[in-house]
Symmetry: C2
């Protein structure tokens, strides 16, 4: 951030009065520009014990496999974001279950949330951000080609929960 | 948003190529300025069956009661945000439990997350954003003076879970 989005003047970085963290401040119009973490929301789409993964057609991690997920938009709920991303990236209309994982990634100022989801009919196809979309059983998961640690963690938690016969909500951090 | 925070030129609002939502775009430098929901994170601090509430010293909802919570900052985890806000607003060092509620509020582009928390020692005092801090048993909760619907919902879920003897994670939306 170099300029004030409100008045176009250059901004300076310092701790505002009454605050304890440095912010981008506009001395011309007084605006304080807060920057906060973003939510990335997606699903773990399951069909007959297999999970639907997307191979990324975009950077970062082009060519690596991921669960369908993306940045939550304004004017939607986390559940709506999860359904939208699953449709956009995997061409799949899933039945949404409960939130399954919430993983903080402070290094990139993100919080990732994945929902349980059931893929009823076998309809899916790669969206613009995916090279291919495919179902994997546990033995076939391409663990060495998973795009993000939040996805690998969520997949491991999912198979562990399935093995013990109960899915619960998991909160984790990736440092 | 009126000006590009990268180069200071005026921005225009339209759907970028390959996108399907209008964004603020800078035609001078090409920057697309995405706007996304913010996370508000807090705790439900419990001591001997009573819950710690803060009376707000700031707008919105000056004078109304709330659970300690606030905007998550960059460079922290959701758990760290919950502990920080509880210390800042209620002067209380709690022992953090599991996430308890996650409530989308699309009308204001926020997602609120509250953690279970235990207040061990009886030490608390109002921070700069609180007029007073006090413990309430269920019968004393000032239901008509609760600042936000996410807080009232979280409190109701908490007492309902306590009544049935098990706390689980709850996801809700407030439209």
């Amino acid at each position: 951030m170099k300029f004030c989005s409100n008045c176009g003047s250059p901004v300076a970085r310092r701790v505002p009065p009454g605050d304890n963290l440095p912010r981008w401040i506009c001395d011309a119009c007084g605006e304080i520009h807060y920057q906060n973490p973003k939510l990335v929301v997606g699903t773990v789409p399951e069909h007959d014990g297999r999970l639907l993964l997307c191979r990324r057609a975009i950077e970062p991690r082009y060519g690596y496999w991921t669960l369908p997920a993306g940045f939550m938009e304004n004017d939607e709920t986390t559940g709506q974001a999860a359904l939208r991303e699953t449709l956009e990236e995997a061409g799949a209309r899933v039945e949404l279950g409960a939130p399954f994982s919430m993983i903080s990634v402070p290094r990139v100022n993100q919080v990732h949330v994945f929902y349980l989801a059931r893929l009823g009919v076998l309809e899916f196809k790669p969206g613009e951000e995916s090279l291919e979309v495919a179902l994997f059983d546990e033995a076939a998961i391409p663990w060495k080609e998973i795009a993000f640690r939040t996805v690998a963690t969520t997949l491991r938690l999912w198979f562990a929960d399935r093995a013990r016969g109960a899915f619960t909500f998991h909160a984790e951090d990736i440092s």
